[in-house]
Structures are given as C-alpha cells and as structure tokens.
C-alpha cells in the first residue's frame, strides 16, 4: 500500500497496522443512517416510483389479455423503489461505493460499523458484528413467525366455524398463500439466521463472520422481502398457495408481483448468507480445529448453506420468468405461445424440496449440540452424523419431482423419483440413530433444551414415516392434495424444524441475551404448544385419510369433527407460543444475569464471557481435542496433570 494513502497506524489485536486515511469521524455517513432513514428512503422512493410509473403509462393501456396495465406496473415500480430506497437508507450501498473509490475502512470505521459503544442503537443500524446480526435475525424471525402464526389461527378459525363463512373466499385463499410462504421464510432463517450467525463464529474460535458487511446485507434484505410479502395482503393477496403455480398465478391479482419480488430479494439474502456461512466454516476455524474436531453444528450449517446456494437460484429464476411473463408478455409459462407450466413446476420444486432439508438439517444439528451437554456423554458416532448430513445434501437435488407425480409430467420418471425419495430416508435415519445412540443409557439433566429433543424426535418420526408413505406413487395417487399431506409437512417443518429451533433458542438464550431464561414458564409454553400441535395435526391426518382436500374453504359435514378438533388444537398452539414468547421477552428484559457457561458445556462458544465482548476472544483459542469429549480424559490435560504431579513429587522429595 502506498505511503500517500496510509499515514498513521493503529493497534489491531496487538499488532501495529498501517491505516488508510480517516475521512471525518469513524463510520462516516453510516453514522447518520439507521432504520429510520431506511424507512424514509424506502417509502419515499416507493412513492416517487409509483407516481412516475403511473404518469408514464398511457390511460387505458391493457395487456394482450385485456387486463389493465397500470396496477401491475405501478405496484412493481413501488416494490423496486422500496427495495432500492430502503437498501440505500440503511447504508447497504455505502460499502461498495467506498470500495469503488478506494476509500477503505480504517480499524476505527470497522469498529464503529460493528456497533462499538453504540448501545441499543446498534440493533437499528447496518451493524456488521455477527452477534448483533444474530439478535436482529432472532427478532425479525419472531415477527415473521408471529405474522404467519396469526394467519394460521385465522385459517383454522374459518375451518373450525364450519357453519358459516368468516372470511371471503378470496381473503381466505390469500391467507393460505401468505401463511405458507411467510412460514417457509421464517423456518429457513429460524436456525440459520439467529443461532448460526451468533454462535458459529464463537463455536469455531473466530472473531466474526468472513464477510461482515454481507452478513448485515442478508439481514436487511430479509426485512425488505418481509415488507414486500406483507404488502401482498393489500394488493389482492396470494390466492393460489405458497407454490403459486402457473398459469393460475399469472391470472391472479397484482399481489403476485409482491410474491415474486419477495422471492427474488429473499433469494439474494439467502445466497449472500450462504456464501458467508460456508466461507466462515471453511476458512476461519481456530488453530487445531481439524474437521474431526469441528462441532457437528458447523457441518449442518455448511450443508444447509450449500443446499440454499445451489437451490435458491432456481426458485429466483422461476419468479423472474413469471414476472417477465406478466409485465413484458414473455411466454415461459404461457402455453399459448410455447411456454410450459411444467417448466415452472420443475424450477419451483428444484428449490422446493432441498428447502425442506435447509430447514430440517439446522434444526437437527442444533439438537446434536444440546444432547452431549445435558447427557454428559460424547455424541454417538460423530462420523455417522457427518455421513447423514453429506447423504442428505447429496440426495437433496434428486428428489424434487415427487411433488409432481400427479401433474402428468414424465410419468416414467415417477418411479426413479420414488426410489431417490425413499433413499433419502437412509441418511435421515443415520441422524435419528445418532440421537438414539447418544441418548442410550444417558443420565438426563432434565432441562428444557434436552426435553425438547424428545419432542422433536417424536414429531420427526411421525413426519418422516408419513413422508415415506407419500413418496410411494400409488399411495400419493390417493393422498395427493389432501389434508394428510398438510399434516405430514407440518410435522416435518414445524414439528422438527420449529420445535428444534425453540430447543436451540432455549439452549443458547443465556449466551445470546446475557440473561437466564425463565425455563419454568418457557417449558409450560413449549409443552402446551407441543400438545396443541399433536391435537391439530393428528386430527388433520384423520381428515386427510377421510379424503378432505387441502386449501378449501367449504367442505362436507363429514369432516366437521376433525376440523373442530384441529381448530381447538391450533388455539392451544397459539396459547403455548404466546407463553413461550412471553417467557423469552420477560427473561430478556428482566431476567437474572447469566453466567458465562451455565450448562458446563465444553465447546468454545461457552468459554467466552457473557455478554460476549466485541472481539469474541481476547486471544484466539487453539483446539486440542475433539468436541463432546465428556467423560473422556483430555490427553493434553492429562499430560499437564502428570507434569504437575511430577513437580509435586519432586517438591515432596526435596522436602524429605
């Protein structure tokens, strides 16, 4: 670096490092940018874009199908304006612009951007510290889950009150679609966002993620996407399910554009998050942390990120094509002009099924971190666990078409896809065996995180076994499109994914918030929700077996009883979740201060002080043993003890 640009030096973790020229106060323009400026920028640019688009469209302009052009184009302009304005307002473009003009960050700039001395304000800014991003993810995820959960309650209210129509059919349909995609988004980020961001760098002995600015970008793009999703409720709603099949979606209201924009932005958010998590795991592990000494959670996060990395672009491009079909009259999915709806379904499910494992794998590996701590024994067959994750990742891209058995696409391919789908139960079975093997003859320290493992395994077994039924072509011919399918995927996504994330939150809560979780209240909430979950979805299995189709507003009175039971169960889930959320919020705001390592864990993340300092570790650690070595004598420690013993003997000898 030339001497013109670098003048002073700064002490950075003990080393004297030449610094670029400091322009003004540390942080520069980022000092002025926060959530407030982002909202002003987003809303302002959305309004301007909308007005301009409206002014430019000729009055009465219509598409080839005689639909008016204005609502679509204006709404799209608003969405694009919102995305660019919000991103600019939060400071997402400052980094690239500074890079372009060669105004590199100084250490003081980087510390400011990491939120040093900013207090609570740092949670409302483009903060780069992975711990802040983890907490931001937690809050955003809870909001999205709350939004999706509220819609679920309303859906169940409609289905439970079988004698009257509570909502209009159109609004009911849009609640179904919005609930579906909101929950999918929330579940994808529920472990990968809060826990992986906060915990993984600590777990591998790193000071931060590999690309801190990308980390902040992924979080704020999620906020942009979530707002776009909520906006669909006011523009006609997502009326054809979360999968928004073509050509139905192309004939839907402008809200479809909101869905498409949500997915396009969310895919970028997931992509940059995946890049960040993978590179962090690959290149930032502490000295001595060989792959056999790397915690299984890191493998799971890496695998899920890899699946997200290759699968999300298919989903993103399916929505880009759907958007151009609608706005520019292209014909990717319009059979009239050579398009194919099967193309959409293939692209959609190329993401749609790996995404299930993007949710389930992190929700499972977080349990693998919990079990050794509360059973005080090593993880059973670490290599099996790794093989299970590798197997799931390898097969995840070969199972998508089991969602398309009944569409008429390539019937000859049904049986190969049936085989690949059933094969994936083998690596998933490895993961279940690891859980059972670890629990075998373990002395359980009965705290909420470990008790949640039992709940998750119970749900996962039911979800997994019913999944094997559904992967069979003959069974799927009968079950397809019924409530049985709905119950099955809720057992996997909510039963294994969400309850796994709750277990993870209960475990890492003291480290993330610096407070002790009120486990008694949280347990009441957890088990209430678990009970409600069984009532809701067991009844839904019954309705499905009786033949009740999914996504319907009106149904035969034959299905009244299971629907009433299901609705009562849903209210119980809602109650349980409220109690759990209440325990989390009250503990976070007024709980007792947590000690650094309340569960006596041996892994690195628990060896840091609580609250975790900005730099995580004063001196970067060196790893000398495998993870989960509970009850196993550390050879290094043994050597040290032996040396101490020799010294003592010598001392005793000399005294004699």
């Amino acid at each position: 670096m030339s001497t013109e640009t670098i003048t002073p030096t700064s002490t950075v973790f003990g080393a004297e490092v030449p610094q670029p020229k400091q322009h003004g106060k540390p942080g520069g323009i980022m000092r002025r940018l926060n959530l407030g400026t982002a909202l002003i920028g987003g809303v302002g640019l959305a309004a301007i874009s909308g007005f301009v688009a409206n002014a430019l469209i000729p009055a009465g302009a219509s598409t080839v199908t005689f639909a008016p052009v204005a609502p679509d184009v204006v709404y799209l302009a608003i969405l694009v304006g919102w995305t660019i304005g919000f991103s600019a307002g939060i400071g997402a473009f400052v980094g690239p612009i500074r890079w372009l003009f060669g105004r590199d960050l100084t250490h003081a700039d980087a510390e400011y951007m990491a939120g040093k001395d900013l207090g609570v304000k740092r949670y409302f800014k483009f903060t780069t510290d992975h711990k802040v991003v983890g907490v931001q993810y937690l809050v955003v995820t809870m909001f999205i889950l709350g939004f999706g959960g509220l819609l679920a309650m309303l859906i169940r209210t409609e289905l439970g009150v079988t004698w009257s129509e509570v909502f209009s059919p159109g609004f009911y349909n849009s609640m179904i679609g919005t609930h579906g995609i909101a929950m999918i988004i929330a579940m994808i980020v529920s472990v990968m966002g809060p826990i992986a961001n906060f915990i993984m760098p600590l777990m591998i002995g790193a000071r931060d993620m590999a690309f801190p600015r990308l980390n902040a970008l992924s979080l704020w793009l999620l906020v942009v996407a979530a707002a776009a999703l909520v906006s669909t409720l006011f523009t006609g709603g997502i009326q054809d399910g979360w999968s928004v099949y073509q050509p139905l979606a192309s004939q839907g209201p402008p809200a479809m554009l909101g869905y498409q924009m949500t997915i396009i932005v969310f895919a970028i958010s997931t992509g940059v998050a995946s890049v960040n998590l993978m590179v962090t795991a690959l290149t930032m592990r502490a000295k001595g942390m060989t792959w056999s000494r790397t915690p299984i959670f890191v493998y799971g996060v890496f695998g899920a990120a890899l699946m997200g990395l290759y699968a999300f672009p298919f989903f993103q491009y399916s929505q880009i094509m759907a958007l151009t079909d609608r706005i520019w009259n292209t014909s990717f999915f319009n059979p009239l002009q050579g398009g194919s709806v099967w193309l959409y379904e293939n692209l959609f499910w190329l993401l749609g099924h790996p995404e299930v494992y993007v949710i389930i794998i992190p929700g499972t590996v977080v349990l693998f971190e919990v079990m050794p701590v509360f059973l005080r024994k090593p993880l059973f067959s670490f290599n099996f666990a790794v093989a299970g994750i590798v197997g799931v990742v390898a097969l995840s891209g070969l199972v998508w078409a089991h969602h398309m058995y009944m569409t008429g696409w390539a019937p000859a391919a049904n049986y190969p896809f049936m085989l690949s789908t059933e094969m994936i139960s083998i690596p998933v079975g490895f993961l279940v065996l690891v859980v059972i093997g670890t629990m075998w003859r373990g002395l359980v320290w009965t705290r909420l995180p470990i008790m949640a493992v039992y709940a998750v395994i119970f749900n996962k077994m039911i979800g997994g076994v019913t999944g094997i039924y559904l992967s069979d072509v003959p069974v799927d011919q009968y079950m397809h499109g019924t409530m049985f399918v709905v119950a099955h995927f809720h057992y996997m996504l909510m039963g294994a994914g969400l309850f796994g994330a709750m277990a993870g939150l209960a475990f890492y809560f003291p480290k993330m918030t610096g407070r002790v979780l009120d486990e008694r209240t949280a347990s009441i909430g957890f088990w209430t929700a678990f009970t409600g979950f069984q009532i809701t979805f067991m009844a839904m299995f019954v309705a499905g077996l009786q033949g009740m189709p999914r996504r319907v507003l009106q149904f035969d009175s034959l299905f009244n009883a299971p629907n009433w039971i299901s609705t009562i169960g849903a209210y119980i889930i809602g109650l349980g979740m409220l109690i759990f959320a209440g325990a989390v919020i009250s503990s976070w705001t007024s709980g007792d201060k947590a000690p650094a390592n309340p569960f006596g864990s041996k892994s690195l993340e628990w060896q840091t002080p609580t609250p975790v300092p900005l730099e995580n570790f004063e001196v970067l650690p060196v790893v000398t043993q495998k993870p989960y070595s509970y009850g196993v004598v550390d050879p290094y420690q043994k050597e040290m003890d032996a040396a101490d013993g020799d010294l003592d003997t010598q001392k005793v000898g000399s005294n004699q």
């Binding site: 670096m1 003990g14 490092v17 590999a210 298919f314 520019w328 990717f332 398009g339």
Partner: protein, 236 residues
C-alpha cells in the same frame, strides 16, 4: 512497514492480507456455484421449451410455422436485423474473452511488480467490457422479434438480460480495480482482488459460451409434431 517487501496486514482486522485473500477466493468459488445455478436455470428453461415446442410456439425467427390455430395468434413483429440472432452471440463472447485476457495480462503484470501494466490491462479490459455492453444492447434492440413473440424470443431475451446484468457488475468491478490500482491500494503484495476478478471473468466466459451454444445449435425445435394444449382463454 513497506507493503511491497513485507506481508501487509488488513487495516480492519489486523490479519495478513494472504489470509483475507484466501477467504475472498473461497467466497468467489461459492459465488460461482450460486451464479452457475442461476445460469443452469436459464439453460434449463431454454432447452426445455426448445425440446417441447408447446403449441408450436417455440417459433424462432424465420421458422416455418406448423399452421395450428394457436400459431396464427402469435404476434408478428417486423424483422429488424435477422443477423442479430446469428454471429453476434459469438462476437459478444469473443469480446468477453478479450476483456478477460486483458484482465489476466494486467494481473500477471501486477504479480511481476509492474503496476503500470496492471493499470493498462485493467483499463483495456474495462474499455472492452463497456464496448461489449453496448454491443449486447444493440443486439437486443435489433432482434427481429419482441418479447411476446413466442418461447424462443423469451428464452433468448432472458439470456441476453442475464448477460447485461453480468456485464454491469463486471464494469463496476473493473472500474473499482482501476481506481484502486491507480491509488496504490492494489499492489504486488495486495493482489487478491484482481486475482479473484480474473477468475470470475473466466467463469463469465463459460456462462456466455453456454448461451452462445444454445442460441446457435438449439434454434429449430426437434419436436416437429408438438402437443397442442388448450388454454384458459379458449375454455372461456
């Protein structure tokens, strides 16, 4: 400490620049995986629609329509430049390869300690990339079809739009590299940024090549007796 003779440290994290470079290279490979998945999605769309020729609606310019009812409803656009769907794809690929070679020349010169060579190489790569972007735009604006003229038009336009997006990002990165080299922030010792940009450009060449192969060798659909499906319009 002189950055030219000793391993420089990152001003923000205090780590050796080689460590930062290793991290950035790993990031590059993951980004290539992500971009490749997107490119494959486009290629799948192109080849899928090409092979099916649903309702004989693939309809590349100049292709004989099979005369089904739906074919007649295809909007006809006046031909602008029929050659736009021929050699320009390869010409644009050639320009991207040329820009990549210039970038690699600059990077190699930088590794030899010749910063001026790096500036010349990056500058040339930038000029060629800008010229490529203009050429790509001219090609799109002279296509003998519009977006609504069948599946072929849709698939080709998406490929070109993807090229434009990649070129805009590339120009931004090359411009940044030029400014940063000029300011002395990119040196023989701090070379990882031009290195990963050079690798990225190799991937871009592959992506452009895949597009050129599709648009050259997959024009007329092999499905001469395509399925004719009803549409919602007809049902109503």
């Amino acid at each position: 400490m002189s950055a030219e003779t000793q391993q420089p440290l990152s001003p923000t994290t205090g780590e050796p620049i080689s460590t930062i470079g290793r991290r950035a290279r790993a990031g590059l490979w993951t980004l290539i995986v992500m971009d490749a998945a997107g490119t494959i999605a486009i290629i799948i769309a192109y080849s899928y629609l090409w092979s099916l020729n649903v309702n004989a609606g693939w309809a590349p310019p100049g292709a004989a329509l099979t005369g089904s009812e739906t074919d007649q409803s295809l909007p006809s656009s006046p031909p602008k430049a029929s050659f736009a769907v021929e050699w320009p794809f390869w010409a644009i690929l050639g320009l991207v390869i040329l820009s990549t070679l210039a970038m690699w020349f600059g990077y190699k010169e930088l590794k030899r300690g010749n910063r001026a060579g790096m500036i010349v190489g990056t500058g040339a790569a930038l000029v060629i990339a800008v010229f490529t972007l203009i050429a790509q735009w001219i090609q799109i604006s002279t296509f003998p079809f519009a977006a609504g003229d069948g599946a072929y038009a849709s698939a080709v336009l998406l490929l070109c739009a993807s090229n434009i997006f990649n070129l805009i990002i590339l120009i931004f990165l090359q411009l940044g590299m030029l400014i940063r080299t000029n300011k002395g922030l990119v040196t023989k010792a701090v070379f990882y940024q031009p290195q990963i940009l050079s690798y990225w450009m190799v991937w871009l060449c592959i992506a452009f090549l895949l597009g050129a192969i599709c648009t050259t060798f997959m024009v007329e659909s092999p499905n001469v007796n395509p399925a004719i499906f009803g549409t919602f319009d007809q049902q109503s």
